[in-house]
Amino acid sequence: MFDVNKSMQTVQMNLIPNDVSVRAETPLHHVDLATIATQGAQDRNIKIQELALLDHLVLRGHADNAALTTGIQSVMGVSLPINLQSVEKEGQVIRWISPDEWLITTPHGTGFALEQQLRNAISTHCAVVNVSGGQTVITVEGAGTEEMLRKCTPYDIHISNMPVGKVVTSLFGKAQAVIRRTGEQQFEVVIRRSFSDYCWLWLQDSCREFGFTVKL
């Protein structure tokens, strides 16, 4: 018979090369944020930063399964967030994506260890998939950020509807993005690699009337 635990233990492989000679390029590599950061005024209201090369894990499982929730609790020290919620602890973020899906981000280089810990701690049917290469995280903050982001998504991001910690998958322009509020005028957007150029241009255009500075 198919043994879930056995099969999970035999497929562990680090998808992120440890070899430093392999050059890692974020989905916004071509934008050259380092150069943009040195250009123009440095005191603009809106600050944009790419949280480049974080490790991203997708977790699938049943939220009503105690083995999943206790496994997460023991490894990450937080409860699995429910509908449209997120939790953050020591640089690790868990975002609710759907009733059986979460997106976890963790600092660069720590993803594989976390993946192994999760697989060992979760004694029930689940999936942990490394999707680090497929997407990146952009943070936007500063006065006017909410007003600027209203041009990017049809979702009502007013603080009464989207308090700090709430996360939604919605449209960003015509592309899909995972948008999370991290402060009153502070948001985080997870965008896909294939849409990164489009999203970056859209964001840049939306910021035009406010002005923006790139932080590194």
Binding site: N83, I97, S98, P99, P154, V168, T169, S170, L171
Partner: protein, 98 residues
Amino acid sequence: MFYIYCPYCEEHREEEEFHASGEAHIPRPSDPDNCTDAEWGEYLFFRTNPRGLHHELWVHGIGCRKFFNITRDTVSYEIKETYKIGAKPQFTHAEEKV
């Protein structure tokens, strides 16, 4: 533009995030090998086109990516209800069997 209630996200979301996927409650024949061509053709290709209440499959594609059902009035476009896969609709025709 209007809002649709996603039963999985449990809130109203912009219509643009959703996509219609045809008629709901079409069971796959339990024994395809012993279906007549007519039965299989009926399952694959034939759909109702009612005036009034219609049960439809929709997907919250740019959101939680879950499929769910909508009961919609094809005359007024009014959405009567949205409900999860596996649940029964509250609004049905008297002669309907869902």
